[in-house]
């Protein structure tokens, strides 16, 4: 019933891939990823590259947030940009119209994201999972159209003059400082999502993805847990939205089209649903590749599309698929003596 249930056998099953994954380990990979992000400005610290890097980092945060919904829990969300928009608009309005600092808007954004998650997820998650895709698609459009028509959101021209980030009296609005602040926040978001994924709740999400009935039979209230996944995704998206507004200082309805939702979903699927390293890689790939292809000028989205198709043909499970593997201590399972029965 769930759209991603059937999986073809993959290279992730080969002993080599298993050894590789164990060797690297998610934690070590995380440190490597963080080091790369921290060192990148030393290679090129032009404003242009910093803006590409910052966008990539934000995209990573969105992708790990959507991964909670799609990758862990198996719920297809086609309107994820809506939560991103809610975060950006709520904090943007509070910061420009009411002069709040961005940090002060965080609790309000959290509340708005949770509320939106409950309003959309509450009724739809009771239905078959297919409905969610359609409702979320509509939700994404409704949020964008609403922002387009309200006065407080600035209508089609949006909001200008969103202040830069300032944390505890520290001005982080210069491109370099902002980039480093974003990297730290996104790193925490990635670790947080991964930790949730490896907890009691994260396992329950995967049980639901694998077999909803069997999960229910184990006492898992599947509706509540699906709602929890949806809300968690909303929170990640909303928080990323605050940073997005701070980066651009101006937002408008055009910033939150369906294309965004599609690209975030693409990052998740391309990287490997449910796999933290995969999704991070996918997000970087999807956000940076079009920039690297600038030389191809008019053809760059064509080339981008072809590359995506090639990846999906050769790695249908994604660049870095998630795979079930845990270390087990060498043990001798008690061997049952069949002879005893035949005697």
């Amino acid at each position: 019933m769930t759209w991603n249930r059937k999986k073809a056998p993959t290279s992730a099953d080969t002993p080599r891939a298993r050894v590789l994954n164990r060797l690297l380990g998610e934690r070590r990979l995380g440190w490597i990823g963080l080091a790369v992000a921290l060192l990148a400005p030393f290679v090129d610290a032009s404003n242009y590259s910093l803006s590409v890097l910052t966008s990539a980092a934000l995209f990573v945060m969105l992708a790990v947030g959507l991964n909670i919904v799609v990758g862990y829990c198996g719920l297809l969300d086609l309107g994820y940009a809506a939560f991103f928009a809610i975060g950006a608009y709520v904090s943007g309005v509070l910061a420009t119209t009411y002069g709040w600092s961005l940090l002060a808007t965080v609790p309000v954004v959290l509340a708005a994201a949770v509320l939106a998650g409950v309003i959309i997820g509450g009724p739809t998650l009771r239905l078959r999972s297919d409905y969610l895709a359609i409702v979320t698609l509509g939700f994404g459009e409704i949020i964008r159209i609403t922002a387009n028509n309200l006065d407080i959101t600035g209508g089609p021209s949006g909001i200008y003059g969103i202040p830069g980030l300032e944390l505890f009296g520290l001005d982080l609005s210069s491109p370099v400082a902002f980039y480093y602040a974003v990297v730290v926040i996104v790193a925490l978001a990635v670790v947080g999502a991964a930790r949730l994924g490896r907890s009691r709740m994260g396992r329950a999400w995967r049980f639901i993805r694998e077999d909803e009935d069997a999960a229910e039979a184990m006492g898992i209230h599947t509706y509540k847990l699906k709602l929890a996944a949806y809300i968690a995704g909303a929170v990640w998206g909303g928080l990323a939205g605050i940073l997005f507004g701070a980066q651009l200082s101006a937002i408008s309805p055009q910033s939150f089209t369906f294309l965004w939702s599609a690209l975030i979903l693409l990052a998740v699927v391309l990287g490997g649903m449910g796999s933290t390293p995969g999704v991070v890689l996918g997000a970087v790939f999807v956000s940076v590749l079009p920039e690297l292809l600038r030389d191809a000028a008019d053809y760059r989205f064509f080339v981008f599309g072809v590359l995506l198709i090639v990846v999906m043909i050769f790695r249908p499970q994604g660049l870095w698929p998630s795979q079930a593997s845990e270390r087990t201590p060498a043990r001798r399972p008690e061997v049952q003596k069949e002879d005893a029965w035949q005697a």
Binding site: Q323, E326, P333
Partner: protein, 278 residues
């Protein structure tokens, strides 16, 4: 219909499971048509009947996957008719499925941890901050999962995806998962299906060890040898109707049962299955 003497040794007040005049219609089909039986602590009860008799449908009504169109299901005196499956599981009712329903992509250990979901003491904040409480509950869950896998005698790799195990091993994992819930009542839907002779013998032993834990067992099973050896009582269904309820001896001699299974003329083949004649 019901009304057969209770299993010996039950001193507790009411039955653990009490199914009263259960009905389930699918459009015109009466999948279950007036089923009544009860199970007590420590019971081993079998539900038998030809294919399509309504056995699985009855299990699905008891465990909340189908809403019965009539009748009641009580667990320890509480009416659970029509409650959602997770709420029924929370009352200590666990089950396996006729067609294996493992979480195939997840590790064998994770599959068993599913059974502990309700009992694990950790919340989202513990998970985000990796508090001592989180670590403790994870460690306990792993230990317990290994314990249940030992209990069912799993030999294969526990750290890999469940779907990589051979069929018989997957069946064991499903039972381990159901046991990890700590059930008072365990419903097994055709646990011996697809098992070879040796595996069936091990299953028989496993069923007895589960019963020794104090867990009541209700099983749907086609293997008459196994059913006759392990059951204290047998309920027989045919076309949704309950045609017999009694001890293995009583059921074996019941003419209605023989007729349902074999037609009128071939009574003597009733127990000619792959029984270990020891």
């Amino acid at each position: 219909m019901a009304g057969v003497a209770d299993a010996p040794g039950t001193l507790s007040a009411g039955p653990l499971l009490d199914v009263q005049d259960l009905h389930l219609d699918f459009g015109g089909i009466k999948a279950v048509d007036g089923l009544s039986f009860s199970a007590h602590d420590g019971d081993i009860l079998s539900v038998i009947g030809p294919n399509g008799a309504g056995k699985t449908s009855a299990f699905n009504c008891i465990t909340g996957f189908y809403k019965p169109t009539g009748g009641k299901v009580l667990v320890e005196g509480n009416d659970i008719t029509g409650a959602r499956p997770s709420a029924i599981a929370a009352r200590g009712v666990s089950r396996t499925f006729q067609n294996l329903r493992l979480f195939g992509e997840l590790t064998v250990l994770d599959n068993v941890r599913a059974g502990m979901h309700m009992r694990m003491k950790q919340n989202a904040f513990d998970a985000l901050l990796h508090t001592p409480r989180f670590r403790r509950s994870e460690r306990q869950a792993t230990e317990e999962a290994n314990h249940w896998l030992d209990f069912v005698g799993l030999r294969g790799d526990r750290g890999g995806p469940a779907r990589n195990l051979p069929y018989g091993e997957q069946r064991r994992v499903e039972i381990a998962r159901a046991l990890a819930l700590g059930p008072r009542l365990l419903l097994l839907d055709e646990p011996a299906a697809g098992l070879n002779h040796g595996e069936k013998l091990e299953l028989l032993d496993l069923l007895r060890r589960i019963s020794a834990l104090g867990t009541a067992l209700v099983l749907i099973e086609h293997d008459m040898g196994l059913v006759m050896q392990v059951s204290r009582r047998i309920v027989v269904l045919n076309f949704g109707k309950q045609i017999a309820d009694g001890t293995p001896e009583e059921v074996r001699r019941n003419p209605a049962v023989l007729e349902a299974y074999l037609g009128k003329d071939e009574e003597s083949h009733a127990d000619e299955t792959e029984v270990p004649h020891d």
